[in-house]
């Protein structure tokens, strides 16, 4: 299937015989090609249903397995890529494990090598033990960050389900429980082509890539029946809307605000929700907004002002994070602003500017293979159709934004403060 994105940009979508969905985005004038294999398995997956049974995994299993897949079958995966002038890496998010490489030449050979790694698995006990030590060092690195602690505390206040806020890498205790058996369970339940997507962007030959994919042992392998993994997230109804912690080591106060999206809002069409959410964030929280101007006028933030949003299948939120000398005044000002949000004029001028800005952003993103690849990957992971996304952007109007006003009701607003202990 061919999809026209913008001007001269096209996306091809193919389904292989093993069930793997493949997306190809050619950029013939460019030198580099980016390839990524996504597995629908992330930090959230430690309690789930599969084949009518409930299963558990130690926290951090997805991340651990990501590390181990670089040591599979007694071979260091990155050695081959480095020798062939390619860069390879991987990452684990709350929802997804992604293995990716970039190169200028020999894409077919490199792709073939990558896929070889996901047919048979054999991890040596000493390698598991080695990676456990490395991951323990990695986990220790995030222990010192007050910003991360503050954000996690906020999410803990907002949601009941641990899968929303626990550390993606697990804990020092949980990774001790990860062994060969655990890794096998994860592979059997999650590492199936039907639970993966492949995205290739850049300067590659379409026909030879398709030929490699169709004839690769990964495609021809006799895969067992796939049982879809089911997750249920307990969003919960938390009562505490504000919490304070104090620390002597702080030099300035950190305030985190969370605005939890009501469950009805999450059920909207995804493309529309995604775009409207972006528009809403731009109008309410960006540096052109009245909110930003108000905070700036009262000197209520420093360089660290950050506004973000997240939409997953089961939940979503806005998050504002600042460091401030005046936490109480900051919260009072924000509270007051949010409670009058329905009276705030959503300026048509700014909305038009937002739409033009998004069109410009889309054109510019296709100027960079890596940026394009990451953009397409984000939409694929979220299961958002890119063409529908672009069409929705053209069609939305100012009135559509009103569905987000619900978010600003008192019951959806949470504050977490990390304050200097005097």
């Amino acid at each position: 299937m061919i999809k026209k994105l913008i001007t001269d940009e096209y996306l091809y979508e193919e389904k292989l015989s093993n069930g793997l969905t493949v997306y190809l985005h050619p950029k013939p004038n460019f030198n580099q090609t980016y390839v990524s294999l996504q597995v629908n398995f992330g930090g959230r997956d430690f309690l789930y249903e599969c084949n009518n049974k409930t299963w558990q995994l130690p926290e951090g299993t997805a991340h651990f397995l990501e590390h181990m897949n670089f040591e599979n079958n007694d071979e260091r995966l990155s050695d081959f890529f480095i020798k062939n002038n390619a860069d390879i890496n991987a990452s684990t998010s709350r929802t997804t494990t992604s293995y990716y490489f970039s190169a200028r030449t020999d894409i077919e050979i490199l792709l073939s090598k990558l896929l070889n790694n996901f047919i048979n698995y054999n991890f040596k006990e000493e390698m598991i033990s080695k990676e456990r030590k490395i991951i323990a060092e990695e986990l220790a690195m995030s222990d010192d960050s007050f910003q991360e602690k503050a954000h996690r505390n906020l999410l803990k206040m907002m949601y009941e389900d641990k899968s929303i806020y626990s550390d993606i890498g697990g804990t020092k205790k949980s990774i001790k429980a990860i062994n060969q058996e655990v890794l096998n369970q994860a592979i059997n339940h999650f590492y199936h082509p039907k639970n993966m997507t492949l995205l290739i962007s850049g300067s590659f030959d379409y026909d030879s890539i398709i030929a490699v994919l169709n004839n690769h042992p990964f495609t021809l392998f006799n895969w067992p029946e796939y049982h879809e993994v089911k997750r249920s997230v307990k969003v919960g109804d938390k009562r505490s809307k504000s919490s304070i912690k104090k620390a002597k080591e702080l030099n300035t106060n950190i305030v985190e605000i969370g605005l939890r999206f009501p469950q009805d809002l999450i059920k909207n069409n995804k493309s529309k929700l995604y775009i409207i959410n972006k528009a809403f964030q731009s109008l309410i929280f960006s540096n052109t907004s009245k909110f930003y101007k108000l905070l700036k006028m009262k000197n209520l933030y420093n360089f660290t002002f950050q506004a973000a949003n997240l939409i997953e299948d089961e939940y979503g939120y806005f998050n504002v994070s600042v460091e401030t000398k005046k936490p109480q005044l900051f919260i009072k000002t924000v509270d007051n602003y949010f409670s009058n949000i329905s009276e705030i004029d959503f300026s048509l001028e700014k909305f038009i500017a937002f739409k033009r800005s998004e069109i410009g952003y889309l054109i510019k993103i296709f100027d960079d293979v890596k940026a394009t690849h990451n953009f397409l990957k984000r939409l694929i992971i979220k299961n958002i159709d890119i063409v529908e996304y672009i069409e929705t952007l053209k069609e939305i109007n100012l009135e559509d934004l009103s569905i987000f006003l619900e978010v600003f009701k008192k019951e959806n607003i949470f504050y977490f403060q990390y304050l200097l202990e005097s």
């Binding site: 990155s78 007050f146 030099n251 700036k296 038009i352 800005s357 069109i359 054109i363 510019k364």
Partner: protein, 425 residues
């Protein structure tokens, strides 16, 4: 991408034409010898000028306009490159060929002129409120750095490594000078930049030269060019006779470790490329000497890397370890440097590091921003056109013997350890 030097504005207008990308970039440069007493002011200007202008008198108006101009990217930075201070104003616009709209780039040029030459003023000066607000924000930034253990330990190390001379390397903010920053000093620095700095314009993308010449002449044709400066590559580091070790104890989980080196050799184009290659070999990627030894063999640290700061001639190694392992890690870094100096660099590693650098230079051609900025910085740094192809040829030509002969002169200067007050269990 080849330079096309235009015969306008004292030949300080340079085009880098190509039709690969969907954007047009224009960069305005103000270059002069670095004034280490005005690092804060120079950095303040990059914020203040982009916040408002006479016509667009607040950030809301200015940012709404940049959104309206199809997500026009604007940024301004102040860099110290060797002995030079460079202020850049960067504009990245969608090429109107990809829109059903004419005259977009004219609006971008208008806005560029407005931002650079018509700042919001009060009684002829940059408004006091803008400066005071920025000072407050910078003070808060310092507090923020102080509570971020990675950033704090890095700044403390740089302070020790540069012997409290970090302002001459352009590190911002310069805390000890912050009090003296005023509306007057910022205004004076702005006037100096406009009136005395050498002024360059670089444009890249798909456009008509003649039309661009006329647009630039109309808006910037009467600007003065008065500065006289020479590029010089020097090693400004005041050496320690013996390596100095600083240990700071605080409430931290992981121990941050920094090792700073003195290069000890003459700085020139070739030696800079050799150092870039050595940086890759020593701690630049996962087959590097440090990564292989410290992470993969000894399991001491999750990350370890070396970093050669080409514009400052500083060379450092950083890693995070548990408290009980930091002495072992220091010893391992020293031992790996000695091994390299004794020629223990395999052909495989040497060639792979070369390939990595060549790959990185080649990959720059896929990004108009990287191509343009890389070309500009090289041009200012070496006072001549140095393309990525030139750099690739130089890297290819380096022999292992040349590299070893040069790195023998590197020696350890400063060790900084940021560690826990508690005993390690």
């Amino acid at each position: 991408m080849k330079f096309a030097r235009r015969d306008i504005l004292n030949k300080k207008v340079i085009y880098l034409p190509n039709n690969k990308f969907k954007t047009i970039e224009i960069v305005f440069l103000f270059v002069n010898e670095v004034d280490k007493n005005r690092i804060n002011e120079r950095n303040f200007l990059t914020e203040i000028l982009l916040e408002s202008t006479k016509k667009y008198y607040n950030a809301e108006k200015l940012n709404t306009l940049t959104d309206y101009l199809y997500n026009l990217d604007i940024s301004s930075n102040y860099y110290v490159v060797n002995n030079l201070g460079i202020t850049t104003f960067f504009f990245r616009s969608v090429n109107e060929k990809y829109l059903n709209e004419k005259g977009l780039f004219e609006q971008v040029i208008d806005l560029a002129e407005e931002i650079i030459y018509n700042p919001k003023t009060y009684k002829g000066k940059i408004p006091k409120k803008s400066v005071v607000d920025l000072k407050n924000q910078t003070e808060e930034l310092i507090l923020s750095i102080n509570q971020n253990k990675n950033a704090y330990s890095y700044y403390q190390f740089i302070d020790k490594y540069t012997k409290t001379m970090k302002s001459s390397y352009g590190f911002f903010p310069v805390q000890e000078d912050l009090e003296q920053v005023s509306a007057e000093s910022v205004t004076e620095t702005y006037k100096k930049m406009i009136e005395e700095d050498e002024f360059y314009i670089f444009v890249s993308g798909d456009f008509t030269f003649k039309k661009m010449d006329s647009l630039i002449l109309e808006k910037f044709g009467n600007r003065n060019q008065t500065s006289h400066f020479e590029n010089s590559f020097t090693n400004k580091l005041i050496p320690n006779k013996l390596p100095k070790e600083f240990i700071e104890k605080n409430s931290t989980g992981q121990t941050r470790l920094f090792l700073g080196f003195n290069l000890g050799f003459d700085i020139n184009y070739k030696n800079i490329q050799i150092m870039n290659l050595f940086d890759e070999i020593f701690g630049g990627f996962e087959k590097s000497k440090l990564f292989s030894k410290i992470r993969e063999e000894l399991h001491l640290s999750y990350y370890v890397y070396s970093n050669y700061l080409e514009d400052s001639q500083l060379f450092l190694v950083s890693l995070e370890v548990s408290k009980s392992n930091y002495s072992k890690a220091i010893a391992a870094v020293k031992k790996e440097l000695e091994a390299c100096q004794n020629g223990e660099i395999s052909d495989e590693l040497f060639n792979q590091a070369k390939q990595n650098l060549i790959k990185a230079f080649n990959n720059a051609s896929d990004s108009q921003v990287r191509l343009l900025l890389g070309n500009i910085i090289n041009y200012i740094r070496y006072n001549k056109e140095v393309s990525y192809e030139d750099k690739i040829e130089t890297i290819k030509s380096i022999t292992k013997e040349e590299l070893i002969a040069l790195i023998k002169k590197i020696y350890l200067d400063t060790i900084y350890v940021y560690t826990s007050e508690e005993n390690d269990d």
